[in-house]
């Protein structure tokens, strides 16, 4: 018997709980002398543990026997979240399961009475013929149904979907909401996800964010755990499907939107590169871009029905400055109440434009560097802490009418600076109040590139983002991310390889056709 066979057999005995003291001693001896044996043993045990997790749809669901201790966890978590236990699996006695929060061109054929926004939705069956309706469950879940759609309401923690489609989003900390269809149960573990009934009752499930369990009804098919960016079709079995961000209508990022942080983009990346052109000799930073060379400008927007949420951006450079300017379509422009004087990790909550940019001429493109969470235990390398990777956030602090700048460096986002000396910035609101122009000049020193600024002919990395806020300028709503590397997936915040190319030109006034959108917009889904 080789050591490997012996370790394997002892590990089997261990997990079967039939191991003897003598066998434990022998295993100990084998592992003690052999690091290779330790690796093998760990892999073998991890396969066993992975089977627990895979077959149960996640660690929490792997818990079989002892339900009671988990309740303790639920209590602790619920107390922390300050939501009361109602949001956490347990229900308060239901009165009405939901209210109709708002509608858009909605026509109902069941019930026969006209339903207005604000109406209480009692247990019963409903049919939305057309339009969009947003339901607010007392459990803390918001559901957007798109007509035609048949559904039934029973309790605040579930709905039955007979036809049509729904997108559900749980408030932070709320878990356990279930969408039932004739083919599947979709259990929410704190997330946003869509469910649609296809042909012959086939159920499509798509997760935007968080975690969901899709479980076929009847049959022996195994349930599946889905994370953000995953989709499945469920009938007798569960099959992976293509994630399509635009498959479902989601809540509009707007003043009544209760959905919180707006974590993921509402757009498909239309560009994999951005052109940076030489700045004309005199550029006034005044919120008017008519003195700019806009020949490298790109224009991108959120997917319908949110196409009004759009970003145009242009980049220019000279020996001293990087110029960043553009226009954002925004029904609540320049509202941010996030003060630059209060230390915090994120300043863009009240609406912002931001850029990730590399000035590392030696590295070029693709940009390398990973956030600690992406490295999976690999110690930080120099490129993860690269001073030449900068995350710039531009926002307008309304109470003081100030164009602010937040800078952080490296993929670990160190060296935070707010409104450092040397930059200039101006915001200007559109006459119709539906957007704003922004214009900034950022000295190369602040991007750690004063010694060796980018030159014509360089191809470096960059990525642009826009965040929208609620009407008060306090909370994040949806966001847009563009200029992405279509070959990479994952969070731009985690992995710098996801950034697109920034092409620095020696000569401006680029000929028509230089700026080219991607033939097929990439389905970037993560922030």
């Amino acid at each position: 018997m080789t050591w490997r066979e012996e370790v394997q057999s002892l590990a089997d005995a261990m997990v079967e709980e039939s191991i003897t003291e003598a066998q434990v001693a022998r295993l100990s001896e084998l592992l003690q002398r052999n690091p290779e044996a330790q690796d093998f043993y760990l892999r073998y045990l991890d396969l066993e543990a992975s089977l627990h997790v895979e077959m149960r749809g996640g660690a929490r669901l792997a818990l079989r026997r002892a339900v009671a201790p988990w309740k303790k966890v639920a209590f602790a978590a619920a107390a922390l979240l300050g939501i009361g236990l109602s949001g956490f699996f347990l229900l308060r006695p239901p009165s009405a399961p939901a209210v109709l929060a708002r509608t858009h061109e909605a026509a109902w054929s069941r019930p026969s009475v006209a339903l207005q926004a604000g109406a209480t939705l009692n247990p019963g069956t409903y049919r939305l013929e057309k339009g969009i309706a947003e339901l607010r469950f007392s459990s803390g879940v918001t559901a957007v149904v798109e007509g035609p759609c048949d559904f039934e309401l029973t309790t605040p923690l579930e709905m039955r979907l007979q036809s049509g489609q729904v997108v559900c989003r749980a408030d932070p900390g709320t878990k356990g909401f279930t969408v039932h269809t004739s083919k599947a149960e979709v259990l929410d573990l704190g997330t946003e996800f869509g469910v649609r009934i296809g042909e012959a009752g086939r159920t499509e499930v798509q997760v935007y964010e968080g975690e969901v369990i899709a479980r076929p009804k009847g049959g022996s098919a195994v349930e599946q755990r889905l994370l953000g960016g995953q989709a499945v079709d469920v009938d007798a079995s569960v099959r992976e499907a293509l994630f399509r961000p635009s498959r479902f209508i989601r809540t509009l990022p707007g003043p009544l939107d209760p959905r919180g942080r707006g974590h993921h983009p509402y757009n498909l990346a239309r560009y994999d590169e951005v052109h940076v052109v030489p700045a004309p000799p005199k550029v006034a930073i005044d919120g008017d871009l008519s003195d700019w060379d806009l020949s490298g400008r790109i224009a991108t927007a959120c997917e319908p029905p949110y196409q009004g949420y759009a970003l145009e951006e242009a980049l220019m450079f000279d020996e001293r400055f990087l110029y960043v300017g553009g226009h954002v379509g925004d029904p609540f422009p320049m509202k941010s109440k996030i003060s630059p004087d209060t230390p915090r990790e994120i300043y863009g909550m009240g609406g912002c434009v931001s850029f990730r940019i590399s000035t590392d001429r030696r590295m070029g493109w693709p940009v390398r560097g990973e956030h600690a969470d992406f490295r999976r235990g690999r110690p930080a390398a120099a490129e993860d802490l690269n001073e030449k990777l900068t995350f710039m956030v531009f926002w307008y602090y309304e109470p003081e009418k100030k164009a602010c700048l937040h800078l952080r460096y490296g993929m670990d986002l160190h060296g935070t600076m707010v409104n450092p000396p040397g930059y200039r910035g101006v915001f200007r609101k559109d006459a119709d109040g539906q957007g704003y122009t922004f214009e900034y000049a950022v000295p190369w020193e602040l991007l750690h590139a004063a010694e060796d600024p980018p030159r014509g002919g360089d191809v470096l990395g960059a990525m642009g983002l826009a965040h929208w806020s609620d009407a008060l300028g306090q909370t994040w709503q949806g966001q847009l991310i563009d200029v992405a590397n279509p070959l990479e997936r994952g969070w731009n915040f985690y992995n710098a390889r996801t950034w697109g190319r920034a092409i620095y030109h020696a000569k401006g006034s680029l000929p028509a056709g230089t700026v080219r959108p991607l033939p097929n917009p990439a389905s970037r889904v993560d922030d």
Binding site: V15, V24, Q32, R43, D46, L47, H52, M55
Partner: protein, 175 residues
């Protein structure tokens, strides 16, 4: 309370809980005990999230906490024959396990593909044993086998899955 930190913590917790469970299982490879320790760890994490430093890698932090709970667990049962490896070797394993976490995560992803390739009956058995709540005796009885025969078959399935993952893992890859 600090909403941003809390949101960050909650997100990382949900994202990483499987890894924490598997870490615990590598030290205490008995399912019910590992589950209890996982719950205890979850509870501790939810109680101490305010002390979480977002700059620290979440999995290492959480696994450090669970390692302490495992140590306490072992010490409590010091006087009984506990049929687990001794603390000194577990410390070595714990350290190695954390270092290999990325590679093991990759192996888990590959395992999914390998599971799909299992012959139907074997796959069904895996689902029943690992996914269900029934005892081995019941599962064996249904197919008129002895529990021992089922254990043997499971050993063969595990070995086959392990080989399958080995074959597909990048040679000399992340490990």
């Amino acid at each position: 309370m600090d909403q941003e930190l809390h949101a960050l913590f909650a997100e990382r917790f949900v994202r990483n809980e499987n890894r924490i469970y598997r870490y615990i299982f590598s030290l205490v490879p008995r399912r019910s005990e590992a589950e209890e320790l996982f719950q205890e760890t979850s509870l501790t994490l939810w109680k101490t999230w305010e002390r979480y430093d977002p700059k620290v890698e979440f999995v290492s932090w959480a696994c450090g906490i669970s390692h302490n709970l495992v140590r306490n667990h072992l010490r409590k049962r010091k006087n009984q024959p506990c049929l687990l490896l001794d603390e000194q070797i577990l410390d070595q394993l714990a350290e190695r396990r954390l270092r290999e976490d990325g590679a093991l995560e990759e192996r888990r992803r590959i395992l999914r593909t390998c599971l799909e390739k299992l012959p139907g009956r074997q796959r069904q058995l895996v689902e029943e044993v690992y996914g269900g709540d029934r005892s081995m005796k019941d599962i064996a009885g249904e197919t008129s086998q002895t529990p021992n025969a089922v254990y043997k078959l499971l050993r063969r399935i595990r070995a086959a899955l392990f080989d399958c993952v080995d074959r597909k893992a990048a040679p000399g890859g992340a490990a």
